[in-house]
């Protein structure tokens, strides 16, 4: 039988390391996939805090005891919760959304608690902002001078982005397509609509492969940065925030701090990798897969955006006879940062011509490839919409023509196209609302509009007051900053799953609360 064919095929999980997985997944006392996922998420935070503690011990020794306490605490809470919960063989697709929503909320709460426990920020809302920006892999930071922070805190801060990026990657590649949402399964690596088989062997295998690939890519990034000339600590943290397309930096000047050509090229390479479709890479590495990498239309488009965009920005910013290697490198760096929605910068684009800035903003809005940790509208959707517009042109002249929508040579079904357009509309509506909100709380016109686009694309810096190196988000009033948080959250989790997840979680909580009240009342009546 073809393993990949049926939408609801569940083979027993019995082979190799899966036996262990199967035992863990089925062991718990309560049947709650949501609890299990939340437990795992908190456990990963615990591992991260432990890592921070160890790193602090071997470096500057600050904040070590706090992180030791937190590491033990989060590990216990997370492992305990995951251990107590059991994942049933089948559950509704919407349960997955509740799980994703709850997991992200949980890690953000964990991170806020951590920052508050450490006393990193003077105001609690700064902790909230830094946590949300971290786990949504957005590069907006309220830290004015990262150099002054302790090493362990910097590691934690970069780690939130790394965990957020991994979560987003797994969410986009494994969860979304398996329930046919958002239309991302059009990618070369995507699966077919497969009902609610989240626990199918195939999905689990893919999750594992992606996680391993993500880890090895990060290792590659660390090696790249070490060769480029960074110190080991910087190499680790910068690699974590680059491969996750997060963009937090240990220095206020981001990559500009190093003043090194090789480091900048290494950063460019890392960001291009971070925004690339990892599922595609998995497929290419699989035995027998004859490298569909180069045949991928999306990958070609991605490289075209980066190099074409870089060339355009260079020409827009410098007059043709004054183009220097440095100008080309800076342009490529920033365009790669925009196309992968990372947010690292070298000097920034404040002194660019306006045309170059607008182009950069457009690239940010389109965003990274599908199947990556990057954000934005995502390239494959944009390409599909171009195909849709081509068909619209044909239909204008041949109203009865039958003309499929294509991405490269692949035909995209009308149902998927409809989802993508729906997503585009949601994206625009959310961004527009966000822009009005930011402006209403005191942002300038250009700042507000570009900040909304940048936040929903999980990029970070923007135009106006938010060009890198101008003091950044701290110039906005606190309510305006807060208005960006929902944009980051919605953008990271592709809008509709968050809304559905939040609504279901709310109704579930209300239902349980009502049950509880009834039970209490019954007992009181019995007494």
């Amino acid at each position: 039988m073809d393993r990949n064919a049926g939408p609801t095929v569940h083979e027993p999980l019995v082979r190799g390391p899966e036996r262990w997985t199967a035992r863990v997944v089925r062991a718990g006392r309560w049947e709650s996939p949501v609890g299990f996922v939340v437990g795992l998420a908190i456990l990963s935070c615990g591992a991260l805090a432990t890592g921070s503690c160890v790193l602090g011990l071997v470096t500057d020794g600050r904040d070590v005891s706090q992180f030791a306490i937190l590491g033990v605490l989060w590990c216990l809470v997370g492992a305990g919760l995951a251990h107590q919960c059991r994942v049933p063989l089948r559950f509704r697709s919407t349960t997955a959304f509740v799980g994703v929503f709850a997991a992200w909320t949980a890690v953000i709460v964990v991170s806020i608690t951590t920052y508050e426990f450490l006393g990193t920020f003077a105001h609690w809302d700064d902790s909230v902002f830094e946590s949300v920006a971290g786990f949504t892999t957005t590069a907006t930071t309220v830290v004015e001078n990262p150099e002054a922070m302790s090493r362990s805190t910097l590691f934690w801060r970069a780690g939130t982005q790394w965990v957020g990026g991994l979560g987003a990657l797994l969410f986009v590649v494994a969860v979304l397509p398996s329930i046919g949402v958002g239309g991302l399964d059009v990618t070369d690596a995507g699966q077919r609509y497969s009902g609610t088989s989240l626990r199918s062997r195939r999905t689990l295998l893919q999750l594992r492969r992606l996680t391993l690939l993500y880890i090895s890519l990060t290792a590659a990034g660390i090696a790249l940065y070490l060769i480029g000339g960074m110190g080991p600590f910087d190499a680790i943290t910068y690699a974590a925030t680059t491969i996750s397309t997060g963009g937090f930096a240990n220095h206020a000047g981001s990559f500009g701090h190093f003043r090194s050509t090789t480091v900048e090229w290494a950063g460019f390479g890392g960001m291009v990798l971070g925004g690339a479709n990892l599922a595609l890479v998995v497929r290419a590495l699989r035995p027998g897969g004859r490298g569909p990498l180069w045949r991928s239309f999306e990958l070609r488009a991605y490289l075209l955006v980066i190099f074409g965009g870089g060339a355009a920005v260079t020409l827009l910013t410098e007059s043709p006879d004054e183009v220097t290697h440095e100008a080309i490198r800076r342009s490529l760096f920033h365009v790669a940062s925009a196309a992968s929605t990372t947010g690292h910068f070298v000097g920034g684009w404040g002194d660019w011509e306006v045309g170059g800035q607008m182009l950069l903003l457009a690239i940010i809005g389109v965003g990274a490839m599908s199947g990556s940790a990057g954000g934005g509208f995502r390239l494959v959707r944009a390409l599909t919409l171009v195909g849709y517009l081509r068909r619209e042109l044909v239909l204008q002249l041949h109203p009865r023509a039958v003309s499929p929508v294509r991405v490269g040579r692949r035909i995209v079904s009308d149902a998927l196209v409809s989802r993508m357009i729906g997503y585009q509309a949601q994206y625009l509506i959310v961004a527009a609302t966000g822009a009005i909100a930011v402006a209403a709380f005191g942002g300038e016109l250009v700042t507000a509009m570009s900040a909304a686009i940048s936040a929903i694309a999980n990029f970070g810096p923007a135009l106006g007051d938010l060009v890198p190196g101008s003091g950044g988000i701290l110039q906005l009033p606190r309510p305006a900053r807060a208005a960006l948080l929902p944009l980051m959250f919605l953008g990271r989790l592709e809008i509709a799953p968050v809304l559905v997840g939040a609504a279901l979680a709310a109704s579930e909580i209300t239902r349980r609360a009502a049950n509880l009240r009834e039970r209490v009342q019954d007992r009181m009546a019995a007494d």
Binding site: R192, R391, L393, V394, L397, M449
Partner: protein
Amino acid sequence: MSVLAPFAVRRQVASASLHIAGLSVLAVAGASASGLVVELVYRDDQWRALAASTVGLGILGILAWRTTSLPPNAGGPRGAVRAVGVAWISISLAAAVPFVVADVLPWDLALFESVSGLTGTGSTVLAPIEGNTHGILFYRQMTQWVGGMGVVVLAVAVLPFLGVGGLQLFRAESPGPTADQLVPRVSDTARRLWGVYCALTALATLVLLATGLSLYDAVSHAATGVGTGGFSPYNDSISHFDSATVEVGIMVAMALGAVKFPLFYAAFRGRDLGAFWRSSEFRFLVWVVVASTAFVTVLNWRDGMTPSAALRDSSFNVVSLISSCGFGTADFTRWVPATQIVLLFLMVTGSMAGSTSGALKLFRVQVVAKHAWREVRRVRHPSGVFPLRLGREPVPEDIVRSVLGYVMFYFLIAVAGFVVLATLGADVATSVGSVITAMGGVGPGLGDAGPAANFLVFDFAQRSVLIVLMLVGRLEIFPLLLFLLPVGPSLVRRLDRVSVRGRLRGPAGSTGGAARARR
């Protein structure tokens, strides 16, 4: 047609484009003639220029019209689309003639002014406006009136019989995703629409007379108010009058132009004012106007205006921008940024489909918003069936499809416009505001191109981009796109070839990936 007997020419070329273009140029000649009449009444000194342009354009129009004949069905959909494109390019050139002949503007500025007029945009490069004679200014107002309802619709109204081609011509020009047939015959529909338009303009003139304007002012502003153009013969636009009563009168005129004309017809025919409220789009319009007025008023009030002044300026500008008219009473580029963003979105949405207003039209906004929501619901119920309804009426899926495609085209062209205009040297706010205002046919933009500014702030290249955008927005993209792109047919052949090649190559269907993966 016996009146036209003297103009009959024996040998005729079958060309829908030239035929329609000739008729359209005659409409511009008519506008020029009305300017001539005003000029003569006021005994100003530009009457020779106006008379010369009237006669010249008239001869040109009659020549193009009478030496050609309509091919059967007006050349099919492609021919209709091309005819509308040709017609609009020729009237843009024709309407610039009086300005050039009267030596008011050099040819490139005259072209900007004429396109801005005909497309109902209302961005002006006349500086100062008031230095010109009454006739020239009145002609300028009338270009907006003629362009408001559409010259091709006018041509369809006077042409005897067009068959299916007439509907396609009508569709290609009339604003909105669907062209509602009031009566079975297209030319009768076009005639009734023009009838409604004239009646509304007359009504607006009466209202404005009642607010105390002179006949000249009342007609001028009624024409550009109902036509939602936004030209005014005064430098300060509506603030020239400095009167709340006049502003209310102008708001009435703009509101008349913002409502779907078939609704007026239905209400008049059925003696039933409920026809308005039964339209979901109308209710949405009212809702949007009330909500954004409230929001803008509150923000302006908190910014230091007195409540009454805030309400007066906010409501006027909201109505002026959502109807894509663009009359000005206040410089909203000085208001707080949040109000400007709201106003910018009003410039994008526009008013009801089937009115003279420009931009996306609320019908499309509703469809897009409802589609976005139904895709959220589909996440909750992946196998659900969600018909898209406006009010109680389900919207057919092919209309939804074309609306979504149109909105995306609009969005894409706007983004391209932002980048191009910024590249040519405008700052961010200015390029965003002026592209949106040009595509929506509104008039004032943001930044340097606000209500108090003149579009002379843009250089030649930027103005040329804006001219194209105004035409693209007014003709709802496709006629001009198919006309401008390396001529429709060859493009389509290329498009078709691509799809044929693709079909021959790969296995069809979205399962192709899995098939290839297994291979």
